[in-house]
Symmetry: C2
Subunit: 193 residues, 2 copies
């Protein structure tokens, strides 16, 4: 769940994230943010000196949210793995239901060569955390016989993230329903036969 904004800085951060996931880092400006919040350009620069600062804060915000989620879920060994997977998928469902937003990796993967090295590194660290966590769930679920898939859990995790990220983008081109079908297919493919 997204925190309710309490001050201008938090409002800027959340609106920046929204614009990042709706239009991309190169398609929104500080003026978009300031005018929408009823403040001036300079106020945004006061809180986030440069656009890169804002981007880094957005990535960090997503990292915190993810860490909080997995912390509340507990370790893979003590988790209902299907619930854990569904919680993860729910992040993407929330995105598509929220103005057809795409995910952080899809947005910044597409624009990867237009952001600075700090953003690239920060994004890479977050992706490693997410893939590691997802790999654990998959490994544990397969061990218990609740998931069934071939090959390495890590690669299967990459495939799930790729399909979900790409699915949000493809669903913009086609229709929202396609994303829900994709999610069902992903889950169906994981069910033991």
């Amino acid at each position: 769940m997204v925190k309710k904004p309490e001050n201008t800085k938090q409002k800027i951060l959340l609106l920046g994230e929204k614009l990042l996931k709706e239009k991309g880092i190169n398609a929104f400006s500080y003026h978009d943010i300031s005018s929408s919040l009823g403040v001036k350009n300079a106020a945004v620069h006061y809180h986030f000196g440069s656009k890169e600062d804002l981007l880094l804060a957005i990535i960090e915000e997503n990292r915190k949210r993810f860490e909080q989620m997995i912390q509340q879920m507990g370790t893979a060994g003590h988790m209902e793995v299907w619930n854990g997977l569904q919680e993860f998928i729910n992040i993407y469902i929330s995105s598509i239901e929220n103005n057809r937003q795409i995910c952080l990796f899809g947005s910044l993967g597409s624009d990867f060569f237009t952001i600075g090295p700090k953003g690239q590194t920060s994004l890479k660290l977050l992706s490693e955390k997410i893939l590691a966590w997802l790999s654990e769930i998959l490994t544990e679920g397969r061990k218990r016989g609740e998931f069934e898939f071939k090959g390495h859990a890590r690669i299967k995790a990459m495939m799930l993230c790729s399909a979900l990220a790409g699915g949000l983008q493809l669903a913009r081109i086609s229709e929202k329903k396609d994303f829900y079908n994709l999610v069902d297919q992903i889950k169906s493919d994981l069910k033991p036969s």
Copy 2:
């Protein structure tokens, strides 16, 4: 295979496509194109009056290339389905080997709300053609027992496109090798057990 540029217009078109797939539609300018080709801004505008015109031409170019590919392969009923699938996947492999370009759907899906209705419609038509073709291959392959998957071929086709599109983006964040692992996983998941 990409045609060899013969004149300025073709050079602009191919360079525009390259920039679109490397940096995104909102991160390159006519100046990037003109300076790289050793001409002036006005020359680019002569060939493509507006950026939207260039975008439409890029989408159209990709459509032609796809139509040509499937025309050369023949109908699904007379095709080696694994070869057909591999040909399709090779488009993505060429992309990642070509400066880690992402695919058209990934790039324009991410920027979908920043392009005009003409581009959106043109992109949608192309995606329908590709999904229809891929669905045919999958259906034929499953009928012959060469592919194995659950559910509707159309949804499985959406999943393949999503995974490949997202995979190119994720591989930018992690590493190229991950994309090849993803491709192996996709193919492995399709093999009859």
